[in-house]
Symmetry: C2
Subunit: 142 residues, 2 copies
DNA sequence: TAATAAAAGGATAAATACATCTTTTTATCT
DNA sequence: AGATAAAAAGATGTATTTATCCTTTTATTA
């Protein structure tokens, strides 16, 4: 439902949010999130371009959050790496439908809107703060 | 959000439902739904294997609905060609998480459940019967 | 200012999804 | 029974997504 790339991006940001203020190298994040290292670099690059994370080059550089975790939503992250595409006009290009969707495509588009809304209202803080048994990305000690 | 293949499958079934009881050749459905002909054949094959549609070989054969349109949901169709995958256990394979999802993956999985629920409660009849301006797949006459 | 550690960029490869083409099988009608 | 029209099956091709590797640039620190 969401792409592998989006899943990786979510993991990376959540990972950074667990140590706010600190910088982490791509390699370190890759290990913690179990994402292929070179691929994660590309993903982080995209996140940096969209100003979800900041990057600092050179010795002791790395990646960090660009905003406080309660300002970053899951939507922000997903939308940066793999934007959710809405159905704006008839996929069959029927002239008479144009921008007025038929019920089939309306329904499909509704589902897209629903998901988008859920992601827009989910901040990174919400993911991290709710008390539950398992901490995102972390193996829990007995 | 849904695959191209799912979109094609939805179109094909809606198309068949517009002429209930009748059989249509794959080629005819392909034209009406603006789906690449040989590809739609494969999609229809899958739909037939999952008993969403029935196929009749030979002269005057073709495809038809296997059930009445109010028994077929969008979920049935999508699930046949491109099953919705739930997150059942930790994608990072963290032992301590196991089948108990962390909040990140719980949230993502919730969105999957939401969409699935919407599709499960959308029958083909609902798509066809609600009065609106544009009729699914059909160019409307002035 | 030289050595180093990190991101950034480019080229390439593998896997998967999407699409087409050709042949074979099956049922129907004359 | 033979001709025909349709699905079914198999082989192949293209595009996109995912993943890897190697080089270049940049900042830091000694």
């Amino acid at each position: 439902m969401i792409s592998q790339t989006s899943e990786y991006a979510l993991r990376a940001v959540i990972c950074l949010a667990q140590h706010p203020g600190e910088l982490h190298t791509a390699t370190k994040i890759a290990k913690l999130t179990k994402v292929p290292d070179p691929y994660l670099s590309k993903v982080l690059l995209i996140l940096a371009k969209h100003e979800v994370v900041i990057s600092k080059k050179g010795l002791h550089g790395g990646y960090g959050l660009a905003h406080s975790p309660d300002k970053i939503t899951l939507w922000t992250i997903i939308n940066a790496v793999d934007p959710i595409k809405h159905i704006k006009s008839c996929p069959l290009k029927l002239e008479s439908h144009g921008t007025h969707l038929c019920r089939l495509h309306k329904r499909v588009n509704d589902s897209i809107n629903m998901i988008e809304e859920l992601f827009k209202t989910s901040t990174v803080t919400m993911i991290l703060d709710q008390p539950t048994k398992s901490i995102p990305l972390c193996e829990s000690k007995k």
